[in-house]
């Protein structure tokens, strides 16, 4: 007896919930050979603004958690992702028309990169911060802190690896994120939301939008409550206009990257979304 599959409705992920787009619009997601895979929600300006509100409200909890706790929560994501490996492989095979082996390699690399970034939570301050030997009786130390809400345009050419490679580094220091999934390959991003939702990640820390980056990215770039903008996957967009819009509130901006290894693992991607705070304290004379 054959089992008729129950198909999944792919929705957005905002504030820890899975709403449909407020617009009521969806876009068809097709396989490489043109067959129908699913309808993905087509996020609107309102969805983007809701996502920013959710991200902002999650900043104090996520950035206020100890680095050890953040590291464990991120590591938990890798554990859950590993357990769903087969699901991601199947989804990537259907979406990207690659072999199961190639899809497996992509998922494995996504898991390993995630673990790499998880390990940075309680280390990046030791590598990026330092004591400053100022010429006077002062204690003086510089420490990196998260900048706040980071909006990300995920790499467009891969389902999962590009997505996690852009997402993970922004989370390490305690930022919260609104991320636009690949327009062509959005399904893995929403399945990844299910991983997040079952991994002790507080709601609102990661918010995932699918649909047209061309339509939504400008609203995030100009949003006054967004602190930084990662344009890694914005090659095909008018990204210079996005950077100009971001300048109004002096957002920190990372430029587009191209190639299959866009958003390659780097400490610099963590540091890009941090602020350096220097604290002076007097030392009395004894």
């Amino acid at each position: 007896m054959s089992h008729l599959a129950v198909q999944k409705t792919y929705k957005l992920y905002i504030g820890g919930a899975f709403p449909r787009s407020e617009s009521g619009y969806t876009t068809e997601v097709l396989s490489a050979s043109g067959t129908f895979l699913a309808n993905a929600a087509k996020a609107s300006r309102k969805d983007a603004r809701d996502a920013v509100v959710a991200a902002r409200s999650a900043v104090s909890k996520w950035s206020g958690a100890t680095a050890y706790n953040r590291g464990q929560v991120l590591y938990r994501i890798a554990e859950v992702l590993e357990g769903r490996r087969a699901q991601f492989v199947a989804e990537i095979v259907a979406s990207e028309n690659v072999s199961a082996a190639a899809a497996g390699t992509q998922v494995d690399e996504a898991i390993d990169r995630w673990v790499w970034y998880a390990g940075w939570c309680d280390k990046y301050t030791q590598v990026s911060g330092n004591a400053n030997p100022v010429a006077g009786p002062y204690f003086n130390i510089s420490v990196p802190e998260p900048t706040g809400v980071v909006a990300v345009v995920a790499p467009q050419d891969s389902s999962l690896l590009g997505f996690v490679s852009a997402l993970a580094p922004a989370l390490v220091s305690g930022n919260t994120v609104v991320i636009l999934a690949s327009e062509r390959f959005p399904l893995s991003a929403i399945s990844f939301a299910e991983v997040l939702a079952t991994s002790d990640v507080p709601g609102g820390v990661v918010n995932i939008l699918t649909g047209s980056a061309r339509d939504v990215a400008p609203w995030l770039a100009s949003h006054a409550d967004v602190n930084a903008l990662d344009l890694v996957g914005a090659n095909a967009l008018d990204w210079i206009s996005l950077e100009i819009a971001a300048a109004d509130t002096l957002k920190r901006v990372l430029p587009p990257e191209s190639g299959s290894d866009a958003a390659a693992p780097a400490l610099a991607r963590i540091q890009a979304f941090t602020e350096t705070k220097t604290v002076w304290h007097t030392k009395s004379l004894i």
């Binding site: 050890y68 590591y75 998880a118 390990g119 280390k123 304290h281 007097t282």
Partner: protein, 512 residues
């Protein structure tokens, strides 16, 4: 019942699944030792828990050979990423079996279950978690790009924090790519052997960690083994000195974490409630069997009497007794030998003219017990102000000015830790600058974190455990001029060299 009397609340030992006797853990398997077995006992009852093996010279040889094979064939070839994954597994398994490990630790060591449950074992997991994340980030350890591991590490650990000391040693060694032969202390081998089971559950490749039990002779054979590249020892200054002497002229890299006689300095503007709690925690935590214990209390003269009165009041509420009772504050002394040492030194304190005080408390008739004790009228020349007692005994001295406090605090051959209590930040920082100690706690005491380096100045040893220095202790830079040494990443701030000048004068023997 008064409000201070609690009904017994013993933690069950039912979750333990101990064997009657334990072999050595060599090359991934438990094997029979060639030496004699000995009993490990509960210091609270003197009852035997299990039989532990003594590793002979041949057994140590086999363990080092297994570690060398594992280093050459497996561990040094594994990617940092995969080494990290094994360490993450170990961290998770420790978390999952935390209660079992805590009960075993309290049973074997005598420490209160609230400490093993809420401090020792969580710290073990944290240590593995932290260093797991370093395994694939060695370029950032502070030694330049592509640093390499050292080889086989010989690690000898003490009985005061048995599993935690194991974690401090094993986690960074494996993260950096070394293999390990570890010798736990003679009286507290049990949790190390349970840890070996965890390594099997984690499917760690055979020989990467080998555990040889036994007494001092086993440790001596291990650290002097010619095929060992790194020696890490935590224990007494006397043994640390012996190791440094016997390894002179070899290329073995050494980390020594030895004794201490920490000053805990209380200024008259200190937040007094917190200070009283901090002083009590500083010296009665783990029955005072802590190398960094705040065993010398330096109180500013004008608040001396008030602080002493408050301390006596607080000590009167400490509950001494069954380590497995959840309400116990002070457990058993680890061994008869240690109890004898504490008894001898406190007798010397009285004989030299210091004033002794203990709260009235009923001590169990069996096991090794010592009531919390305070000495006042202590002079800097008294043995109780100079020798490491390593027991629940506080020596109170006074001072008038910050300069006097600093001079008295530094008047010791040790330099492991110190405490400062004051509401004035500028004074805290200035005093901290002048203290010759590796860890300075301000308005807190006995805080430990895998991200934070720990270790001593002077005769408290050299090298650091924890943080980046703790990782660098198990690495060496890529050879000069090699392409591997070219910077692959933006240069990180250099880690200061951790080998401090040391005196070789054998001033006294001390327990760690």
């Amino acid at each position: 019942m008064t409000f201070l009397e609690y009904a017994p609340a013993p933690e069950s030992t039912g979750l333990l699944n101990l064997k009657d006797s334990y072999g050595l853990f060599i090359d991934g398997e438990f094997v029979e030792a060639r030496g004699e077995s000995f009993a490990t006992i509960s210091p609270a009852t003197e009852k035997t828990i299990a039989l532990i093996s003594t590793a002979s010279d041949e057994d140590v040889d086999a363990a080092v050979a297994a570690a060398r094979r594992a280093y050459d064939s497996t561990w040094s070839r594994l990617s940092g990423r995969d080494r990290g994954k094994y360490l993450f597994r170990i961290a998770r398994l420790v978390q999952e079996r935390a209660r079992e490990l805590a009960v075993a630790e309290s049973l074997d060591n005598g420490k209160p279950i609230k400490e093993s449950r809420d401090f020792d074992i969580p710290t073990v997991a944290a240590w593995f978690f932290y260093y797991a994340g370093w395994a694939d980030k060695l370029d950032h350890a502070g030694l330049g790009a592509n640093p390499s591991s050292l080889g086989v590490a010989a690690q000898v650990i003490p009985w005061n924090f048995p599993l935690m000391m194991l974690a401090w040693k094993v986690a960074p060694a494996l993260a950096a790519g070394n293999t390990v032969v570890l010798k736990p202390a003679e009286t507290t081998s049990l949790t190390a052997l349970l840890f070996a089971e965890i390594l099997q559950q984690a499917d760690l490749p055979a020989g990467v960690v080998n555990i040889v039990t036994g007494a001092g002779a086993t440790g001596r054979t291990l650290v002097n083994h010619p095929d060992v590249n790194k020696v890490a020892f935590t224990g007494s200054t006397a043994v640390g000195r012996e190791i440094a002497r016997s390894l002179a002229g070899t290329s073995k890299k050494i980390t020594l974490e030895l004794g201490g006689k920490a000053a805990n300095i209380v200024f008259d503007d200190a937040p007094i409630d917190q200070a009283i709690e901090g002083i009590v925690n500083g010296i009665f935590f783990n029955q005072g069997q802590v190398c960094c214990a705040g065993s010398r209390l330096l109180v500013q003269e004008n608040i001396h009497d008030e602080v002493v009165a408050r301390l006596k009041e607080r000590l009167s509420t400490l509950r001494v007794g069954d380590p497995l009772d959840k309400n116990t504050d002070v457990g058993a002394i680890n061994s008869a030998a240690q109890l004898a040492r504490v008894t001898e030194l406190t007798a010397a304190g009285e004989a030299e003219g210091a004033v002794r005080w203990s709260p009235s408390c009923d001590l169990p008739s069996e096991g090794f017990w010592f009531a919390p004790t305070i000495f006042t009228n202590v002079q800097a020349s008294h043995r109780i102000a100079r020798d490491e007692i390593f027991g629940p005994v506080l020596s109170v001295l006074s001072f008038r000015t910050p300069a006097e406090a600093i001079a008295k605090a530094n008047n010791t051959p040790y330099g492991l830790s110190a405490g400062i209590w004051s509401d004035k930040g500028s004074r805290v920082l200035a005093v901290a600058d002048k203290l010759r100690a590796g860890v300075v706690w301000a308005n807190t005491f006995n805080k430990f974190d895998p991200a934070s380096p720990f270790g001593g100045y002077k005769e408290s040893g050299y090298g650091r455990e924890g943080g980046r220095p703790g990782l660098a202790a198990y690495l060496k830079p890529a050879p000069l001029g090699s392409s591997a040494a070219a910077p692959a990443t933006p240069a990180a701030p250099a880690t200061p060299a951790v080998t401090a000048p040391r005196s070789t004068s054998a001033r006294k023997k001390a327990a760690k």
